[in-house]
C-alpha cells in the first residue's frame, strides 16, 4: 500500500516537474511533494506503525524516491537558470564595431623616436649621453675645437651671433669639449641636440636641425676602429648590412678627417637619382680627434687618442621616413606629426 503511494508520488511529481513552466510552478510541485507538510512527509508519518523489517525496507524506498525527486528538481531548476541566463545574455547584444570613447595616445616627434633608438644603442655600448646648452660661448663652439677666429673654417658654418656676444651652437661638438673637461679619458660619449646655422630655409635646408655627436677616447683608437664602429652603428640604425667608405674631408677638430659615405640603400650602389648616380650617399663627417683639441681640453695626445663623428639626426629621420620637405619637422602641423 505504502509502496504504491511512494511509487505514485514519484511518478506524479516527476510528471509535475516535467510540466512545470516556470520556477514558481516547479517550487510549488517541490513543496507539495517534499515540503514539511508535503506528501512524502505524510507518508513517512505512517512508518511508525510498521514492523521494523518493513519499516527498513520502505525507508530505503522512500529515500530513493526522495533522492530521485531532488535530483530531478535540481536538474530542472538548473535548466530554468540556464534558460534565464541565455535570455538575459541574448538581450545584451552590442555592436562591437562601435567606436570606443576616450582619448587616443598622441605621438612623439620622429626625431625624438630616432634619437631614443640611437641613444639606446650607444648606451648598450657603454657610452655616456651628455647634454650641453644651445646658447654657447665662442670658446666652446670654435676655439676649443681648433677653429680660431681668423680661421677660414669659420665660414664653413654660418653662425647666429647673439646680443650678449655668445652664439647659437653650430654643431653638437662643443659638448665634446664639455665631456672631455668633465669626465676626462678614457671617454665614450654621445651628445644629441639641436643646432643652428644661419641659412635660408627651403625644402632641403633648415636653420634649425638635430645632430648627434659621438666621441671615443682611449689609449689606442685607430682609423680601422672607426670604420668598424661606423659600419656596426649604421647597420644597426638602418637595420640592414651597410657598406661604408671613408674619403678625405676637412674639419679642423679632427686629423685625419673624413667624409663617410654609405653605399646607396635605394639602388645598392648601381646608381640612381638619390645617389646622383654615384652609388654612394654622403652621410656624416668623422675623424681622429685632433691633438690640439685633446690638449686644449687637458688630455695628453701622446697618451690618448680617439675618434669623433657627427650624425645628422634630422637627415636620418628624413631618410628613414622618406620625408622630402625638412620644414615639416618644425612646422607644428598635426597632420604631419600625428603620423609618427
Amino acid at each position: 500500500m505504502l509502496d504504491e503511494q511512494l511509487e505514485e508520488l514519484r511518478r506524479a511529481t516527476l510528471a509535475g516537474f516535467a510540466s512545470a513552466g516556470s520556477l514558481e510552478e516547479l517550487e510549488e510541485e517541490k513543496v507539495q511533494a517534499l515540503g514539511r507538510k508535503g506528501t512524502l512527509a505524510q507518508i513517512s508519518k505512517e512508518f511508525g506503525m510498521l514492523p521494523v523489517p518493513e519499516r527498513a525496507r520502505l525507508g530505503k524506498l522512500l529515500n530513493a524516491v526522495k533522492q530521485d525527486l531532488e535530483t530531478a528538481y535540481e536538474d530542472k531548476k538548473r535548466r530554468f537558470a540556464q534558460a534565464e541566463l541565455e535570455e538575459r545574455l541574448a538581450k545584451e547584444w552590442i555592436d562591437v564595431t562601435l567606436p570606443a570613447p576616450g582619448i587616443r595616445p598622441g605621438s612623439l616627434h620622429p626625431v625624438t623616436q630616432l634619437q631614443n633608438e640611437i641613444e639606446d644603442l650607444f648606451t648598450s655600448l657603454g657610452f655616456a649621453i651628455l647634454d650641453g646648452p644651445e646658447v654657447e660661448t665662442e670658446e666652446h663652439n670654435f676655439d676649443a675645437l681648433n677653429i680660431p677666429s681668423t680661421h677660414p673654417a669659420r665660414d664653413m658654418q654660418d653662425t647666429f651671433w647673439l646680443s650678449n656676444g655668445h652664439l647659437l651652437r653650430t654643431h653638437t661638438s662643443p659638448v665634446q669639449v664639455r665631456g672631455m673637461r668633465q669626465l676626462g679619458p678614457p671617454l665614450r660619449m654621445i651628445a644629441p641636440g639641436r643646432v643652428f646655422r644661419n641659412e635660408e630655409v627651403d625644402a632641403s635646408h633648415e636653420h634649425t636641425f638635430y645632430q648627434l655627436e659621438g666621441m671615443m677616447i682611449d689609449r689606442e683608437v685607430s682609423v680601422a676602429n672607426l670604420i668598424y664602429f661606423m659600419q656596426t652603428l649604421l647597420s644597426s640604425i638602418f637595420r640592414r648590412e651597410v657598406t661604408v667608405r671613408l674619403r678625405p674631408g676637412y674639419f679642423p677638430f679632427v686629423e685625419p678627417g673624413f667624409e663617410l659615405d654609405i653605399q646607396c640603400l635605394i639602388c645598392g650602389g648601381i646608381g640612381c637619382p638619390v645617389c646622383k648616380n654615384s652609388g654612394w650617399v654622403e652621410l656624416l663627417p668623422c675623424g681622429l680627434v685632433h691633438p690640439n683639441v685633446l690638449r686644449i681640453s687637458g688630455i695628453d695626445p701622446d697618451v690618448w687618442g680617439g675618434f669623433a663623428f657627427g650624425l645628422g639626426l634630422t637627415r636620418l629621420a628624413m631618410m628613414r621616413y622618406g620625408i622630402d620637405d625638412i620644414r615639416q619637422l618644425q612646422g607644428g602641423d598635426l597632420r604631419f606629426l600625428s603620423q609618427f
Binding site: G106, V111, L130, L162, R188, Q231, P256, G332, R335
Partner: protein, 784 residues
C-alpha cells in the same frame, strides 16, 4: 674651385687617366669632386673660314655672307655681327654642332638658309665678348682654330680645400694627380728667366708681420690688347673672365701656382717707392669694381707717395688700373698674413679670387716664382714687352719649421693597418716631402713650403697624407678594444623620456618649434623684449629673439592647427633662454609646455589638463594664482609639487584667440622640468604596510562660501581628523536651492582607523564629533 683637365695635364706630362676616373680618384684621395663637365667639345668641329662676300638683307643688320670654310664649295651663312668684313678669317660652326647645349642647324633667316653660323668669342666659350665675331689673325680655311681644344672641367667643393692653400691652383692639384697616378710633376716655373739686375722700384714694408714678402717687377713697352685664344679659353673654362693680356696673365698665375698678382700702371704711380702699410685714418680707396671703400686703420694697403693704390690682397685701385694707354707696368707678387686679409675682406664684405686664396695662408716662396712665370707668359701674350731692372723683393726670412719626427709605428697605430716603412717614405716623397731616415722605423720629414704655412705641422697631419694615399678602403675594420666600464648616468634624459612617453599616452602629440621668436610673440606673452637675447644676424625678420618661453611657439601651433582640427592636444619639450637683468647671465632651462584646445571647450578641459598634471607629477596641487595678462583672469593656477612651484596651468585669455579670429578654448601648462626632475630624483620612497585593522567611514557635508577653494576645506578636515585619518575623498559639491545664494555644499567621505587596533565605536564617535565641532568652530555650517 674649377680645374681644367688640360691645364693639369700640362704639369703631369703623359697623363692618361680619364677625367671621370680622375674625379673618382681625387674624391677618394684628396678632396671632394662635385662634377666633371666637358667644355669646348665643339672645338673639334669648328673651323676657320674666310669671308668671301657680303650682301645686305632686306631689313635689320643681318647680312648674307658667303664664306670659304675649306669644304671645296662656297657656304652661305646669315650674320648680324657688326665686325664682319670681306677677307676676315672667322670661326665657322657647321650645322649639327652644339654650342652651350644648343645644336646649330640649317636655319632659314628672312628667307635665306644659313648653313651653320659664324660665331663670337662668347658663343664659342672663349670669353664673355659677344660684341662681334671672333677674328683670327691668320688661319687656313677648314683648319681647326689654333690654340683651342676640347677640355674637361673638374669642380671641387671649396669647403674641402679650406686647409689646402696649394690646391687653390692647378699646380697643387697636378702634384696630387701625379702622386695618385704615379706620374711626374713638371714645374712650369723657370726662375732663371728673371734678370738679377738692380730693381727699378723700391719697396718699403712698414708691417712685415702683415706682409712677410713683397716682390715686384717693372716692365715697359707694354701694349695692352687681347690675350692669346688658348689663354682666354683656359681662364674662361675655370670661371675667370678674360679682360686683357696683362690682367689675364696675372689671373692665370692666380689659378696656377696659386699666386694672386696685381699689375699697376707704372706711369700712374707717384714717387718711385711702393709702400706696404696700414691705412691712415680717413683714407679711402676707389677700387677696380667701381666701389669706394672707407679704410680701417687695421686694413693693410699698398700705397704710393700720394696714398693707397690697393687694398692689400683684396682688390686694386681704379686710379692705377691697367688701361689701353698703359705702356709701363709694375707687377706685384706678394704674400700677406692670412688672418689680416680675412678680417679686411670680412670688414668690407668683399671676397675676391685673391682674398679667398690669401686667407688660406699662401706659400711665400711663390712671390718670385709668380714673377718668373708672369714674365714667360707676358712674352707670349704681350710681344715686345721688356723687363726694367731686376726683381725687387722685400722679404722677412721665412721661419723654416723643424722637420717632423715620424715613427712609422705611429702611422701604423693611428691607421690601424700595416703600412710598410718604404711605402710611407714613397708616399710622402711623391707629395713633395723630404724624408730622411734617422733611425730604423723613424723618419725625419721636412714639409715643403707650400704645405708648411698652416696645413702640416704634426705627425698626425702626416698620418693623414699616408692614409689617404694608401686609400681608406684598404684598411680592414677592427673592433676597438676598450675597458668595459659603466658610463655615468644621465637622469635628466631618462626623466624626459618618461615625461614624453606619458604625454603621448595621455593623447598629446609632440611638436618641435624654433628657438626664435619675434617682438609680437614676446609682447603677447608679456615678456619685455629688452630682457630677451636677440640675434644679431637673424635669418628672417620674424626670428629676432631667442625664446624665453615655449608658450609663443605652442600658441602659434594652436592657431595653425585650428583650421584642420576641432580639438587636439600638443606638447613640446625644449629650452627656454632667459637673461638675468642684473648679472647679464644667461639661464637655459628645460621646460615642457602642453595644450588642450577645443572648439566647443568648457571648464572640463581645465580639469582634464589638471588630471594630466597629476598623472605626471603624482601628488601635485594647484593653487589659484593671480592671472598674467595672457591668462584667463579666473582660470589661472600655480602647480605645486613636493613643496616647490614647478609651473602654471591656465586657460589662455579668450582675447588672444579672438585676436587670431578663433573661438574655442585652449588650456595650457608650462612646467620647469629641471626643477621637476630634481624633485622627482630627491624622493626617497619607503613602503607602508597595508592596514591590518579595519577602518570605519562616514560622510560630511560642509557648507561654505561659494568661491572658497575646496582645497582649504579639505586641509582643515584632514588637520582635524589627525593621525587616525586613513583616507579623505571628495564626493561632490552642490550649489543651488535650498542653499542660500553665494554658498555651496561640499561633501567628503572620511575613513578613520588606528594602525595597531580596531577602534571602538566610542573612539570613532569622539573623532567624528571633534571634526564636526572643529569645523563649526572655524565658521562652517555642517550637514551631518
Amino acid at each position: 674651385m674649377k680645374f681644367s683637365y688640360n691645364w693639369l695635364a700640362d704639369s703631369v706630362p703623359g697623363l692618361s687617366t680619364s677625367a671621370s676616373e680622375l674625379q673618382r680618384l681625387i674624391t677618394m684621395k684628396t678632396a671632394e669632386c662635385e662634377a666633371v663637365d666637358p667644355v669646348g667639345a665643339h672645338f673639334k668641329a669648328v673651323v676657320a673660314a674666310r669671308v668671301l662676300a657680303l650682301e645686305p638683307m632686306t631689313k635689320g643688320k643681318n647680312q648674307r655672307v658667303t664664306i670659304d670654310a675649306g669644304t671645296g664649295q662656297e657656304i652661305t651663312v646669315v650674320c648680324g655681327a657688326p665686325n664682319v668684313h670681306p677677307d676676315m678669317i672667322a670661326a665657322w660652326v657647321p650645322p649639327g654642332v652644339a654650342l652651350h647645349g644648343k645644336t646649330i642647324g640649317k636655319a632659314i633667316i628672312e628667307g635665306i638658309e644659313s648653313d651653320g653660323m659664324l660665331a663670337s668669342p662668347a658663343e664659342l666659350g672663349i670669353s664673355r665678348d659677344h660684341s662681334g665675331l671672333l677674328e683670327l689673325e691668320s688661319a687656313q680655311p677648314g683648319m681647326p682654330i689654333p690654340g683651342l681644344a676640347a677640355d674637361w672641367v673638374i669642380e671641387i667643393d671649396n669647403k674641402s680645400l679650406t686647409h689646402r692653400p696649394d690646391l687653390w691652383g692647378h699646380l697643387g692639384m697636378a702634384r696630387e694627380v701625379a702622386a695618385i697616378t704615379g706620374g711626374t710633376l713638371a714645374d712650369p716655373v723657370k726662375l732663371d728667366a728673371l734678370p738679377s739686375d738692380e730693381p727699378a722700384i723700391k719697396i718699403e714694408v712698414a708691417n712685415p708681420a702683415l706682409c712677410p714678402r713683397y716682390s715686384a717687377l717693372v716692365l715697359e713697352n707694354v701694349k695692352v690688347g687681347p690675350s692669346p685664344l688658348w689663354l682666354q679659353a683656359r681662364l674662361e673654362s675655370v670661371g675667370l673672365n678674360p679682360i686683357n693680356n696683362i690682367v689675364d696673365v696675372t689671373n692665370y698665375i692666380l689659378a696656377e701656382l696659386p699666386q694672386p698678382m696685381h699689375a699697376f700702371d707704372g706711369d700712374e704711380l707717384v714717387g718711385g717707392t711702393i709702400l706696404v702699410r696700414t691705412a691712415l685714418p680717413g683714407e679711402r680707396l676707389a677700387a677696380l669694381n667701381g666701389e669706394s671703400y672707407d679704410l680701417d686703420p687695421a686694413d693693410l694697403v699698398i700705397a704710393d707717395a700720394a696714398g693707397p693704390i690697393a687694398l692689400a690682397g683684396v682688390i686694386g685701385g681704379s686710379a692705377s688700373a691697367i688701361s689701353e694707354e698703359t705702356t709701363r707696368i709694375v707687377l706685384e707678387s706678394a704674400n700677406f698674413l692670412a688672418a689680416s686679409i680675412r678680417l679686411t675682406s670680412a670688414r668690407h664684405k668683399l671676397r675676391t679670387d685673391a682674398s679667398m686664396r690669401f686667407e688660406k695662408s699662401l706659400d711665400p716662396e711663390n712671390t718670385v716664382r709668380g714673377l718668373a712665370r708672369a714674365l714667360e707668359l707676358l712674352k707670349e701674350a704681350c710681344p715686345g714687352i721688356r723687363v726694367v731692372g731686376g726683381v725687387a723683393d722685400a722679404a722677412t726670412p721665412r721661419i723654416v719649421p723643424a722637420p717632423i719626427p715620424l715613427p712609422v709605428s705611429v702611422v701604423v697605430k693611428k691607421l690601424g693597418a700595416p703600412v710598410s716603412a718604404d711605402r710611407v717614405r714613397r708616399i710622402l716623397s711623391d707629395l713633395g716631402f723630404a724624408v730622411q731616415v734617422t733611425a730604423p722605423d723613424l723618419f725625419s720629414v721636412t714639409v715643403p713650403s707650400w704645405r708648411a704655412t698652416k696645413d702640416i705641422s704634426l705627425p698626425d697631419d702626416l698620418v693623414e697624407e699616408v692614409g689617404r694615399m694608401v686609400g681608406y678602403g684598404e684598411i680592414a675594420p677592427a673592433p676597438p678594444l676598450v675597458a668595459a666600464t659603466v658610463p655615468p648616468a644621465n637622469p635628466m634624459r631618462l626623466y624626459l623620456r618618461q615625461v614624453r612617453a606619458q604625454m603621448a599616452s595621455q593623447g598629446f602629440t609632440e611638436t618641435y618649434n624654433y628657438s626664435f621668436v619675434n617682438q609680437t610673440d614676446l609682447l603677447r606673452f608679456d615678456f619685455d623684449p629688452a630682457l630677451c637675447l636677440t640675434v644679431r644676424n637673424p635669418v628672417a625678420s620674424e626670428w629676432t629673439h631667442i625664446r624665453p618661453s615655449l608658450l609663443p611657439g605652442l600658441f602659434n601651433n594652436i592657431v595653425s592647427n585650428v583650421r584642420n582640427y576641432a580639438e587636439f592636444r600638443l606638447f613640446e619639450i625644449g629650452h627656454e633662454v632667459r637673461l638675468d637683468r642684473a648679472s647679464g647671465e644667461v639661464s637655459e632651462r628645460t621646460h615642457s609646455a602642453a595644450t588642450i584646445y577645443s572648439a566647443q571647450g568648457d571648464e572640463r578641459d581645465f580639469f582634464e589638463l589638471k588630471r594630466v598634471v597629476e598623472c605626471l607629477f603624482t601628488g601635485a596641487r594647484l593653487c589659484s594664482a593671480e592671472a598674467k595678462l595672457y591668462e584667463h583672469p579666473m582660470r589661472a593656477a600655480e602647480i605645486e609639487w613636493r613643496g616647490s612651484t614647478i609651473g602654471r596651468l591656465f586657460e589662455i585669455h579668450p582675447k588672444l584667440l579672438e585676436q587670431e579670429g578663433l573661438g574655442g578654448r585652449a588650456v595650457l601648462f608650462d612646467v620647469d622640468l629641471d626643477v621637476a626632475q630634481s624633485l622627482a630624483a630627491s624622493r626617497v620612497f619607503r613602503y607602508t604596510p597595508p592596514r591590518r585593522y579595519p577602518t570605519s567611514g562616514f560622510d560630511l557635508s560642509v557648507i561654505s562660501e561659494l568661491r572658497l577653494p575646496v582645497s582649504r576645506i579639505q586641509d582643515e578636515l584632514a588637520a582635524l581628523a589627525g593621525s587616525d585619518l586613513a583616507s579623505l575623498d571628495f564626493v561632490r559639491q552642490y550649489a543651488g536651492p535650498p542653499l542660500p545664494e553665494g554658498s555651496k555644499s561640499v561633501s567628503y567621505h572620511l575613513e578613520i582607523g588606528a594602525l595597531d587596533r580596531t577602534m571602538t565605536a566610542d573612539e570613532l564617535t569622539a573623532i567624528r564629533n571633534r571634526i564636526i565641532q572643529g569645523m563649526r568652530g572655524a565658521g562652517y555650517e555642517l550637514r551631518v
